[in-house]
């Protein structure tokens, strides 16, 4: 039995190795679980919108709930002008949520526990928001780095701090999701290992703890998808409504 808690994050290729100009683009277990998550999202949305009933079926109910949830979140945090970005934020939220939730199934693989996946998602958000800000406000978008009501003497220092905090957005956004998922899954595996090593006599206590941890991890899986989406909305709000 493999008790190494880091073993679950191993990426291995499924099927033949594919090389494209020296870049390895083989189909791995990470790609497999991303595909599974995407297919699940598509299946849910397809089932939910196939028959539009007045008294909704379960799939339609879930679809409508997620739609209103994301629409309300965008409206509350980024204002009505962010309505155009609903498809992007909905896709982002659903993808992160389903990757986290599929990862909670035992013996599956958590795609979002790899920093490269979350960093790419965060980079798309960061670059996209910066482009939107410059397109909408032109060079005046740089006013974002100059908060109102700051004494003139402090201004150079404040601008440097604001620029650093702006540039660290993709890092904090991606590391938050990746660290939460990885720490949670490592912890669950460690407690699972305690159950095995303590055996039939003492293993019940960590087993109960594992069950509680699974509940917590499902909460965290939802919460991190929510936080990822809501922070995207907050960044979008900065770009769309400069200084409100």
């Amino acid at each position: 039995m493999d008790l190494n808690p880091m073993h679950q994050f191993e990426v291995y290729k499924i099927g033949p190795e594919i090389n494209l100009n020296g870049i390895n683009i083989s189909f791995t277990n990470a790609s497999l679980f991303m595909t599974i998550s995407s297919i699940l999202i598509l299946a849910l949305l397809f089932l939910g919108t196939k028959k539009k009933l007045l008294i909704p079926s379960k799939a339609q109910l879930i679809t409508e709930m997620t739609y209103t949830f994301v629409a309300k979140m965008i409206n509350d945090t980024a204002g009505s002008s962010a309505k155009d970005f609903f498809p992007f934020i909905f896709t982002l939220f659903m993808f992160v949520l389903f990757c986290n939730m599929v990862g909670m199934i035992p013996y599956s693989f958590t795609v979002t526990s790899h920093i490269i996946v979350t960093f790419v998602l965060a980079s798309i958000v960061f670059i996209g928001v910066t482009i939107i800000g410059f397109v909408k406000h032109g060079i005046k978008y740089l006013e974002l780095f100059v908060p109102k009501g700051v004494p003139f003497v402090l201004l150079p220092l404040i601008i440097i701090i604001e620029v650093i905090s702006y540039l660290s957005r993709p890092v904090s956004l991606s590391v938050r999701l990746f660290a939460n998922m990885m720490a949670g899954h490592t912890m669950m595996k460690v407690f699972g290992g305690f159950v095995i090593s303590l055996g039939l006599l003492g293993g019940w206590l960590p087993l109960g703890f594992s069950v509680a941890l699974t509940g917590l991890e499902i909460l965290v899986a939802f919460l991190q998808a929510y936080v990822f989406a809501i922070l995207t909305c907050i960044y979008l709000n900065d770009a769309l409504n400069l200084h409100h």
């Binding site: 880091m6 904090s172 590391v175 938050r176 990746f178 660290a179 939460n180 990885m182 720490a183 919460l223 991190q224 929510y226 936080v227 809501i230």
Partner: protein, 75 residues
């Protein structure tokens, strides 16, 4: 000192960052509770903010954990 031992000590030290996260999460939930006790009708509206604050505070502690893991596995 052996490099391996120094790595272990460094990783352990990096995990101290989780103490700050514990204080932060406690503050968030404690203040939410005391606020909710004073004005229960406004509590439900602030629940998303509570979750957001919880996630942000927890993430700061996990940065420390990432540092520990980098020390242990990446070097």
């Amino acid at each position: 000192m052996e490099l391996e031992a120094a790595k272990m000590i460094g990783a352990g030290l990096a995990a101290i960052a989780l103490a700050g996260a514990g204080v932060g999460i406690g503050l968030i939930f404690g203040n939410y509770l005391s606020g909710a006790m004073r004005n229960p009708s406004a509590a439900q509206k602030q629940f998303p903010n509570l979750l957001l604050g919880f996630a942000l505070a927890e993430a700061t502690g996990l940065f420390g954990l990432v540092v520990a893991l980098i020390i242990l596995f990446a070097f």
